[in-house]
């Protein structure tokens, strides 16, 4: 047991789809968190995310699976305040979202661009744990809140490109450091 995440098998690294892949534009279906395929999916998401430098989260449709499941880990991110460590949520829902803030975000599926996006900086998100189906409630802020909303947008078939703040809010991705 690692924080909120039940023990998972070792996952396989999967290929990450890039826009304009159709799977990124289609809303994902709810799934049974106790289903074996969902546990495998959870492990694969984490394995893929871990191997991708700078990747803090991954939604199931980014690896071509239409299931409302994402992985997330903002540990050590400079913009993170509250941090719940390594997470996988099944059938996640944003329950409350307040205090809009503008921030820049990127996406593994849109590797050449970043965008300025207004998102809530305080959120409550619920979801189910893969394997056990236990209800998980996450109350968080800052970058973890932003990342949660970004991943849940993926599950609704949306990219940050649909949420940028203006005609000039997209930027060529800079390589930092």
């Amino acid at each position: 047991m690692n924080g909120l995440l039940p023990e998972l098998p070792d996952g396989q690294v999967r290929a990450v789809l890039r826009a304009p892949a159709q799977a990124l534009a289609d809303p994902c279906s709810e799934v049974d968190p106790r289903d074996g395929s969902v546990v495998t999916l959870a492990a694969d998401l984490l394995a893929t995310q871990l191997l991708s430098p700078g990747c803090v989260g991954l939604a199931a449709n980014q690896i071509g699976v239409s299931a409302r499941v994402f992985s997330l880990d903002v540990t050590g991110h400079p913009k993170a305040r509250t941090c719940h460590g390594r997470l996988v949520l099944v059938n996640p829902v944003v329950v409350t979202a307040t205090r809009l803030e503008r921030g820049r975000e990127g996406c593994m599926s849109v590797p050449d661009l970043t965008g300025d996006v207004r998102r809530a900086s305080r959120v409550t998100v619920t979801g189910l744990a893969p394997g056990t189906g236990d209800l998980i409630t996450i109350q968080t802020d800052a970058f973890e809140a932003r990342a949660l909303q970004h991943e849940i947008d993926h599950l609704d078939g949306m990219l940050f490109l649909d949420r940028v703040a203006g005609a000039h809010a997209l930027h060529a991705r800079q390589v930092y450091l």
Binding site: P20, D112, L113, D162, H168
Partner: protein
């Protein structure tokens, strides 16, 4: 006092803005609005400048910038008119999908048909992904939901994704 639009387009290099604005400054020009960007490596700038100098003098003073053929400079008078205030709220149109001919012309035609005026536009092509962002002023009489539906229908035919959202200003 005349108001001139000065357009400079061509191969990018350091110093173009300094040269153009330096020439205009020496002619007593006053910069009003301006925009400049790099498009696929090409320098592109429009300056709106008010000046007592006549257009011919401005053209002549800027001509040296175009001498080596790497830049094209044009000057034209623009009528001085009060800026129209948008009648209704502003929206952001976002389109993304596989690149294909006609995305911009087809979707902006749908916006125009609804009386929407595009006030800012940028498009990007990265790999296979084409992205269009346009800020749209809609007349008060236009129904944004109807326009959004028409845009979705058109986008579906083009095989691209579209969204139309109110543009909320960040007031800090």
């Amino acid at each position: 006092m005349t108001v001139l639009a000065v357009t400079v387009i061509g191969r990018d290099r350091p110093g173009i803005i300094a040269e153009a604005t330096g020439v205009l400054g020496r002619l007593g020009g006053n910069l009003e609005d301006s925009t400049m960007t790099i498009l696929r490596g090409h320098f592109a700038m429009v300056l709106v400048v008010s000046t007592d100098a006549d257009m011919g003098a401005v053209e002549e003073a800027l001509a040296s910038m175009a001498e080596d053929g790497s830049l094209s400079v044009s000057v034209r008078a623009v009528p001085v008119e009060p800026t129209a205030q948008p009648a209704g709220p502003a929206y952001l149109l976002s389109v993304h999908g596989a690149d294909r001919p006609g995305i911009v012309s087809t979707l902006t035609a749908v916006v125009a048909e609804a009386g929407g005026n595009i006030t800012d536009l940028s498009t990007r092509l990265t790999g296979e992904l084409y992205v269009l962002l346009a800020e749209v002023d809609l007349p008060a009489a236009a129904d944004p939901d109807v326009l959004a539906q028409r845009l979705r229908d058109t986008a579906a035919r083009l095989g691209v994704e579209v969204s139309l959202r109110p543009l909320d200003p960040d007031v800090l």
